[in-house]
């Protein structure tokens, strides 16, 4: 191969790769998203992807934001933090986005945080763990409840039921591990004692050995299962299979109708903390969230033909917070950041958001509902 030929090929491969994909209309406002649309986090990223697309379409159909159309740039990181970081660079450098709603997991979010902090572009994450917003990072926000809040909500409920001796079975994925650590950090505050712990791999298909051990442990009054994906559904089925008679608590990681479909009858009686979105139709008419949550649930289910989940809801909340900030302050990333921080009383699917300089999530424990599954459907436990 001649020298100039090789050079041309090598350079061509690099340059041609992305030069094709420029060319948006100058007046469109670009909003970015890096989501785990495929891979083990697909059940998080996929509904978020669909939600963002359908609502950006809706916003544009109604004339856009301040008369400007939004253009959505979505990349799939496949759950890989390294890929997420590359795509984040691309959004900032090539696509010139003004803000980002995305980052499906804590791992991908944390890998992208430095890029957005450095570029001074607001980043509304959909990841769960508390490390995303503690300590506060100037340009980083998040919309889902934290795993610590989930633990606190569960422990509060346990105390009300006079159950203080528990066992944990958690997934070894990022979500399960992080929530397990949070629960093990705040349990003493609630007078709850952890008697035994087991784990399972995120793709394991049978957890009866672990549950058999927990069942054999004397004095366990309740079991908590921090985890997401199919794991908790299998845990739930195995739990009933073994005739384990104590209450089982799941986390907000299973806050999707899909969990009930997968676990079937075994899910009945399971409690979990989750956003009001799941029980939109059962909220009191006076509940401020009722209108927003019902509208989102109806739209999502009509268009995608899939059961609504809080994971898509978090993307909805993020987009609405962003749109609100742009309506108030325009399209300069730094101004958008300031306006996001000033978000007050915004009603989303996860609760009412009141952001501040020290709170980049803006949700309190009241935003969490304790749900119980009865007859294959969500019900408010309180």
């Amino acid at each position: 191969m001649t020298l100039h030929k090789s050079l041309a090929i090598a350079a061509g491969l690099l340059m041609g790769a992305t030069s094709l994909f420029g060319g948006a209309q100058a007046q469109d406002i670009k909003v970015g998203a890096v989501l785990s649309v495929t891979g083990p986090g697909a059940f998080l990223g996929d509904p978020a992807d669909k939600t963002l697309r359908m609502y950006v379409d809706e916003i544009n159909a109604k004339g856009g934001v301040k008369g400007r159309k939004l253009q959505l740039v979505i990349y799939d990181d496949g759950g890989d933090a390294g890929k997420a970081r590359t795509f984040a660079t691309r959004l900032v450098e090539e696509d010139k986005i003004v803000a980002m709603v995305g980052g499906s997991s804590t791992g991908t979010t944390m890998a992208m945080v430095p890029i957005f902090e450095e570029a001074q572009i607001p980043f509304i994450s959909l990841g769960g763990a508390v490390v995303i917003i503690e300590p506060v990072k100037k340009f980083v926000f998040k919309t889902p409840h934290t795993d610590r809040m989930a633990c606190e909500k569960i422990f509060t409920d346990l105390k009300q039921r006079n159950l203080t001796r528990i066992a944990l079975i958690s997934g070894t994925d990022g979500f399960g591990k992080s929530m397990r650590d949070q629960c093990a950090a705040v349990n003493a505050k609630y007078g709850v004692e952890i008697l035994a712990e087991e784990t399972y791999g995120p793709r394991d298909t049978d957890m009866t050995p672990q549950l058999t051990n927990l069942k054999a442990k004397a004095g366990v009054q309740a079991v908590i299962n921090p985890g997401f994906g199919q794991g908790p559904a299998i845990v739930t089925r195995n739990f009933r299979q073994l005739g384990f008679a104590v209450p089982l608590y799941q986390s907000h990681g299973v806050a999707s109708k899909q969990y009930i479909d997968l676990a079937g009858d075994a899910a009945n009686g399971v409690r979990l903390p989750a956003a009001a979105l799941l029980v939109a139709d059962k909220l009191a008419a006076s509940d401020p969230q009722k209108a927003v949550a019902s509208a989102y649930a109806t739209k999502f289910q009509t268009i995608t033909k899939e059961p609504v989940s809080t994971f898509g809801g978090h993307a909805f909340d993020g987009l609405m917070i962003l749109v609100g900030a742009m309506e108030r302050g325009g399209f300069d990333p730094k101004v958008i950041r300031d306006e996001i921080e000033k978000t007050k009383g915004l009603i989303g699917t996860a609760g009412v958001f009141n952001m501040s300089a020290s709170d980049h999530m803006g949700l309190d424990l009241s935003a969490f509902k304790m749900l119980e599954i009865r007859n294959g459907d969500w019900a408010l436990a309180e």
Binding site: V37, T38, G39, P40, A42, F43, D46, T172, E198, T199, Y200, G201, R203, T205, D206, T208, P209, Q210, T212, N213, A216, G229, Q230, A233, I234, R237, R240, Q241, L242, G243, Q258, D261, L262, G264, D265, A266, E306
Partner: protein, 291 residues
């Protein structure tokens, strides 16, 4: 104590049976063509996914299962014809990477056709657990075990009692000689892929009520099936199933008696140990170069 032991054993056998069937699928293709088919897990996925969709569309389960098996077999033949046949005598590692590419394609199509969500299939005969000496067993686990025995028996009967099966064995033993006695090699290779796909799909149908299914379910299964296959002794159908059961049992006992976090590590170390002591796998010949 006994109840606990039995519970662990049942868990290991059920999971291991699935690894074993996947490994059996590997074996058929490997024996006939020398290809280590890393898209084997995708056949399991197709079996589960197509059945779920058909049942969802109102097709009765047995018919849905039949459709799934036919779809999988067609994909198997297509894979062989389009991607393997043109490079039949390429080095093994090239063939492996081709099947890795094929797995990406099948998975990609499944994501578009079936979506990316998890799906479930109802248990064949309810989910009321059966008590057995203090252990509690789901009826579906018995379906999986019975299905495994049936599949292994059928494969054995096919290979040893039918003309086609014997032709398949002849092809794997000596392709040139098989050709000389008038065996249509190209047809036999396609048959091996189809059969292997059918076995994979059957595993997928049996196990979906327990494990659920989704577009990417095959990746891990292929990995475990491959490990089971090598553990049992490459090329031996019985070894494949034994390897699968051993892998499943060691995972379950490690989770039960040692550490649930490192249960896979225990299984992997066991596997490395077996390979170092018996470099050809449990039922294999030492060295085990395929001839």
């Amino acid at each position: 104590m006994l109840a606990q032991f039995l519970q662990f054993a049942m868990s290991g056998l059920t999971v291991g049976a699935v690894y074993g069937i996947v490994a059996l699928g590997f074996t058929l293709i490997y024996n006939a063509s020398g290809v280590m088919n890393f898209a084997q897990g995708e056949f399991v996925m197709i079996g589960g996914m197509v059945t779920v969709s058909a049942v969802g569309a109102g097709v009765p389960l047995p018919l849905a299962a039949l459709i799934a098996v036919i779809v999988a077999a067609s994909v198997g033949v297509l894979l062989q014809r389009l991607a393997i046949e043109p490079v039949r005598d390429a080095p093994p590692v090239v063939l492996i990477i081709i099947t890795v590419g094929a797995a990406l394609v099948i998975r990609g199509v499944a994501q578009i056709v079936f979506g990316k969500q998890l799906h479930k299939l109802s248990d064949f005969s309810g989910d009321t657990p059966l008590a057995f000496l203090g252990a509690s067993i789901l009826p579906q686990a018995l379906w999986v075990l019975a299905g495994t025995v049936l599949i292994v028996t059928l494969v054995w009967l096919f290979l040893n009692l039918t003309m086609l099966g014997k032709a398949l064995i002849a092809t794997s033993a000596n392709r040139l000689a098989a050709k000389l006695v008038g065996i249509n090699i190209s047809f036999i290779l396609a048959l091996a892929f189809a059969l292997s796909a059918v076995i994979g799909a059957a595993a997928g149908i049996l196990v979906t009520p327990i494990t659920f299914t989704y577009a990417e379910v095959g990746t891990l299964l292929a990995l475990k099936g491959f490990a089971a296959l090598v553990l049992g002794g490459l090329g031996s159908p019985l070894g494949a199933v034994i390897g699968g059961l051993l892998l499943g049992l060691s995972e379950a006992f490690a989770a039960g008696y040692l550490s649930s976090t490192y249960k896979d590590a225990v299984a992997l170390l066991l596997m490395i140990a077996v390979l170092l002591l018996r470099p050809g796998g449990i039922l294999g010949h030492a060295g085990a170069e395929r001839v």
